[in-house]
């Protein structure tokens, strides 16, 4: 099986306004509470992103109409910790988020986001603060994120971003949906399987 053409899935540039979400360790139970996982599709998850936090916390940015059309989510440390539910990045993506910039991400969240083409990049804490402040001051502040240049332009500045090499390459080449890539050399897969003592029954 050959790799499907991935050129139309290349992700380099995300341009739009930003949604600032303050706080460390925002877990995936908060992004999408477990009761919304009781379904056999991802349909409709977008409207439930941060459902409980929106109800219980004053002025939650996901409840603020000024950020309704934002496509870049700006977060602090360890965003997406906890459960491996892909429903979390799916909910964000379906809510219109195409990129996340944060101080750090949980590994499983980062992997899940990448496999659905949601670009996550880290930035230094003062730069995250700058982006949050800009979006809080004026929710219409335009921002342009470049995966290739690993940077984000906002409010007259260009800030450096960082991404793991594999994540960056996956996005730039459009191979973030890895199935085709993983099937490209299936003979090699068979060879590794055949060499495993436990696969051969010892």
């Amino acid at each position: 099986m050959s790799t499907t053409d991935s050129s139309d899935r290349r992700i380099d540039r995300v341009a739009g306004t930003a949604l600032p979400l303050r706080g460390n360790n925002i877990d995936t139970d908060r992004i999408i509470p477990a009761r919304f996982l009781k379904a056999i599709t991802f349909d409709g998850l977008g409207e439930h992103a941060f459902e409980d936090d929106r109800q219980s916390m004053r002025n939650h940015p996901f409840a603020n109409p000024a950020y309704a059309r934002a496509s870049i989510l700006v977060v602090n440390e360890n965003f997406g910790s906890g459960s491996s539910r892909e429903h979390a990045p799916q909910a964000l993506k379906r809510r219109g988020i195409d990129a996340c910039v944060g101080e750090s991400f949980s590994e499983i969240f980062l992997g899940n986001a990448t496999t659905i083409g949601l670009a996550c990049a880290t930035a230094a804490a003062p730069d995250v603060e700058f982006l949050m402040a800009a979006a809080e001051r004026d929710p219409e502040t335009p921002m342009v994120l470049s995966v290739d240049a690993q940077s984000i332009q906002a409010a007259g500045r260009t800030l450096a971003l960082d991404m793991p090499v594999g994540v960056r390459e996956s996005l730039l080449t459009g191979q973030w949906d890895a199935t085709g890539l993983l099937l490209d050399d299936f003979d090699a897969v068979r060879r590794v399987a055949a060499g495993l003592p436990y696969a051969a029954g010892f």
């Binding site: 706080g23 460390n24 009781k38 379904a39 659905i116 191979q175 099937l183 003592p197 010892f202």
Partner: protein
């Protein structure tokens, strides 16, 4: 320089380096359940792709299973729909399934080991973050999302970046009434909930070597709560003894050959680690969480911290205290509880139930406390009943339920209501985790949950063990 177990397993399972720079890693055992797999099967259907190695995937149902009335169709239509989807998918794609009607159903991280599917030297993936549990056997096991479940079904592989290894050595022995749960809560409190990002945790040292497989699973299970996607213990005689005679473990001469290979996969004595952390097991006391992430715990003799404490993340402490409605500086002991839950993939194995039963034997659950025991699997339930543990629990006023994830994440009818405070043997105290958006969770060992159930408040179990 020697190699770590992680490195040995990683190298053995590496198919190739992908053009993106990531590793194409072969997955030896793929476990699936009803919550994170239906969309993956649908993606396969839409693409006309079949399951590459159906014999390397095993399914069970756990998250949505009712623990009281399991008759089909379930009263909850959405749960029934998920159950039916998994049944259809397993049938259509030829995947083995511990269905509800079989005697092998249970929480995926309980049945994998108990069936002998989980073995040293394997790579193991599952659409569930607590897949790190299986590392207790000396496997490289980690949680993945649904699109990655699709990738494993289609190719038996994942595109993934390698991890560093931090060895965490626990010296000396644990005191009586102190368990693996207390050790892992201490580790997370010390290293932080994001301290393990980028690392696999290798647990070792005398206290860990002395632990049973059940206890090692508890440790590895909560690695992810410290940010480490993988946690493992090097395989040893305890591991091999546990595996002997399990349905899917090798038997006879094959077991002897397997044991020699398993032993060879352990980290070499001169292995190089990216980081080493040491702690003294004898200094650890029973721990209880007071906040909204698993790193926010104190010893049962200690006080709830204040935002102004030295070294504290003031904002996080303040947010947690506000949500919990707890007072900074108050002792954690004496905190009133409304619910006691013994269950989950962290602490619902036979030895967990035995320890909890020891505490409640001859006692009564406090009048205001709703208490339940949810065994991790049908096998655990049956074994516990053979020992009469269910009678001890029921005589004390606990409900004795069927196997499943239950009130750990409340995807079935078991949940907190309103502002209830729950003493829980589970793994997450996140806001809303146990089904009520305003419910409050105190994580602790099963013995401490049992003690809290009887006392009606958080109390030091060491005073209740003979």
């Amino acid at each position: 320089m020697g190699k770590t177990l992680l490195r040995k397993i990683w190298d053995l399972h590496t198919v190739r380096r992908l053009p993106t720079g990531q590793t194409q890693l072969f997955i030896g055992l793929h476990l699936i359940h009803e919550v994170t797999s239906p969309q993956a099967f649908d993606m396969l259907r839409r693409r006309g792709v079949h399951v590459a190695f159906p014999e390397r995937t095993y399914a069970t149902v756990d998250h949505i299973v009712p623990t009281l009335d399991q008759r089909r169709p379930f009263a909850d239509e959405l749960a029934e729909q998920m159950m039916a989807a998994l049944e259809t998918n397993c049938r259509e794609f030829g995947i083995r399934f511990s269905d509800l009607g079989t005697d092998r159903q249970g929480i995926v991280h309980v049945i994998g080991p108990e069936l002998g599917l989980t073995q040293p030297g394997m790579t193991i993936a599952c659409g569930d973050s607590h897949t790190s549990t299986h590392g207790a056997f000396g496997a490289v096991a980690f949680g993945i999302g649904t699109s990655q479940v699709r990738d494993v079904l289609a190719s038996q592989c994942l595109a993934i970046d390698p991890l560093k290894v931090r060895r965490i050595a626990v010296a000396s022995a644990l005191g009586p009434g102190v368990y693996a749960k207390d050790v892992i809560l201490e580790i997370i409190a010390r290293l932080g909930v994001r301290g393990g990002v980028g690392y696999a945790y290798e647990y070792g040292g005398p206290a860990v070597e002395r632990m049973s497989m059940d206890e090692r699973m508890t440790m590895c299970n909560m690695s992810i709560e410290g940010g480490a996607r993988i946690g493992y213990v090097n395989p040893d005689e305890t591991t091999f003894e546990y595996l002997a005679g399990r349905p899917f473990a090798p038997a006879g001469a094959a077991f002897d050959r397997a044991r020699a290979w398993w032993r060879s996969m352990a980290s070499d004595p001169d292995a190089a680690y990216d980081d080493v952390v040491e702690l003294d097991g004898s200094a650890i006391e029973p721990r209880v969480t007071w906040g909204i992430n698993p790193g926010q715990s104190v010893g049962v003799s200690e006080r709830i911290p204040a935002p102004s404490d030295a070294g504290a993340d003031g904002g996080a402490v303040g947010e947690a205290l506000e949500f919990m409605d707890f007072t900074a500086g108050a002792p954690i002991a004496g905190t009133r509880v409304d619910v006691a839950f013994v269950g989950s993939c962290t602490n619902a194995r036979l030895s967990d139930l035995r320890e909890a039963a020891r505490v409640v034997s001859g006692q009564r659950v406090a009048g205001h406390v709703r208490a339940l025991v949810v065994p991790g699997s049908k096998d655990v339930r049956r074994a516990a009943e053979e020992e009469g543990l269910h009678e001890i629990f029921q005589a004390a006023g606990f409900e004795w339920r069927g196997a499943g994830c239950s009130m750990c994440l409340a995807m079935n009818p078991d949940r907190l209501h309103g502002r209830e405070v729950c003493a829980s043997s589970s793994n997450r105290n996140f806001k809303g985790r146990q089904g009520s958006p305003t419910g409050r969770t105190l994580l602790m060992s099963p013995a401490m949950v049992a003690a809290a159930a009887v006392a009606g408040e958080v109390t030091d179990v060491r005073g209740m063990l003979g």
